[in-house]
Symmetry: C2
Subunit: 305 residues, 2 copies
């Protein structure tokens, strides 16, 4: 069974609050490590409904310095402290948000029980922002009214799968299994070399998720995100409000679908809906005309890759 | 009919978020002027469910610089700007929160469409903080882990009520009515003086609301709030957690009820519940043993005085 790679939508509205949506926040659960993507107001309240464990959050990735993406951060940080967190927390985002995080910490919780380590991201380049044994996170330069970048989260290739029947057949001992998973051949007691390919099946295909918000359509995104399993792309407006999209640095549903199509993604999820849409199916239908495999983001939605 | 004096509870939990409660925020609607009492995270989201008009908010009163009372403020201010507010907004609270408001404004919405005017409150004295034609707002010095004050909101006496049948009997013209409401006698064409008391019935009794959060029990509150129609008093803990209450500067349900009893209030509403209470009836029962007319605060509760 593939290891966990889940995305939870905690909020997918835009700046004006509605009765339906919270502002932007998502959680990525990759092999039990939790990443937060943006942290709009109410994120810690929505978190309570996921059942996820606060202590497993290791990194927060912020896209840009607009309130609807970051006003939930102080409450989130403070609550993790009240719950006794001790592990350091890494926040990645534009440098302008470092001042904000430091001000809030100094003003409201100077005695926080854990370290908050801010790592400024250059929003103008596509670069590796973070990696560990199981994943890479890359920045995606976006185009909005102020410095902004999305994030591409890619798992690293896992180990090969053992072919149980071959292990039994050659009576390979347990201590050798990890080496074989990692690619080694096996030499029997009689000196016969069994090639690794007979002992294993290939690792699971590598999965990836792209988070693109807030932005006008950016041509580079299609190259950086080619073939991702799932792309979240903001679609604040319908094409009939293209002038608004241009003016405020957002995308229409059609434009989001064009990006997904060019990137040949597996699935597109649109979100960051303007409060003007009572029925977001208008946006969904518009996107599906260009890219069929599109879904609407929604609070309490959980997607398993 | 008495003029409007309504209280809406937008949030009545304490610092740790739960599935049941939002952090502290209340709205007072006094004759169509809206006052906000504290502004915890999610306040602007809860606001959407009241159906109230953002533009009618004239003043915000903040009690103290803990996140669960003020982290909803930036989103609230920003949203009123997005909605095109132009009237100045007055914020009253401890001086330490002025820095916060000014930082957030400069950092996130330097081009706000309206003025935010911060008026620092001396949390150590019981004094008039604000008044207009229809109300007075007084500070209530409280005792918490940092400077903190509650607020007492009192309507001013209205005009006397006209006795319709007497007006008709003496054939008093319309132009004289306002003077009579304000207390003047009436002199008939024949020179007879009709005393005001024959022409009017007394104005409605003056109503008042006291908001006391967060605090340990403070003896002065009973004097300052004597006979208020409704008192909100925090009751973070049950008496069995008195040590926690003492340690963190909070009250138990019994203590809240003792304050209400000493103040001879009409009704007590308790709130700011610790997340540890699955069933807050434990707190309610404890309070009712001391002061029978007690209710639990709850989101979406609206109380008409």
């Amino acid at each position: 069974m593939a290891q966990k790679f889940d995305i939870y939508i905690l909020g997918c509205g835009s700046a004006l609050p509605t009765r339906k949506h919270l502002p932007s926040c998502q959680v990525v659960d990759l092999r039990d490590k939790l990443l937060l993507l943006d942290c709009g107001e109410g994120a810690q309240l929505a978190w309570r409904f996921t059942g996820l464990n606060w202590q497993r959050i290791t990194h927060i990735f912020l896209t840009h310095a607009h309130g609807d993406h970051v006003f939930g951060l102080p409450g989130f940080l403070s609550t993790m402290g009240l719950l006794g967190r001790t592990a350091p927390l890494y926040i990645h985002g534009p440098s302008s948000l470092q001042t904000y995080v430091e001000f809030m910490k100094a003003h409201f919780f100077p005695d926080l029980s854990y370290d908050v380590r801010y790592e400024a991201v250059d929003t103008t380049v596509h670069a590796l922002v973070f990696e560990d044994r199981s994943m890479e996170v890359w920045s995606l330069p976006l185009q909005h009214r102020l410095p902004c970048c999305g994030y591409l989260i890619k798992e690293k290739p896992g180990l090969a799968h053992i072919r149980r029947e071959m292990i039994d057949f050659y009576e390979i001992p347990v201590w050798a299994i990890n080496n074989i998973k990692a690619g080694q051949d096996w030499t029997t007691a009689t000196g016969e070399v069994i090639p690794n390919s007979r002992l294993t099946t290939p690792p699971d295909p590598v999965r990836s998720y792209a988070y693109c918000s807030d932005t006008m359509p950016v041509p580079g995104v299609a190259d950086w995100c080619r073939g991702v399993d799932l792309m979240y792309h903001e679609a604040t407006y319908a094409e009939s409000e293209l002038d608004h999209a241009l003016r405020y640095g957002h995308s229409t549903a059609r434009q989001a679908a064009e990006v997904a199509k060019a990137a040949e993604v597996g699935k597109l999820m649109i979100g960051h809906f303007s409060s003007r849409y009572e029925d977001e199916n208008e946006l969904l239908e518009e996107a599906r005309k260009v890219f069929e495999n599109t879904i609407l983001a929604n609070e309490q939605l959980k997607i398993t890759l």
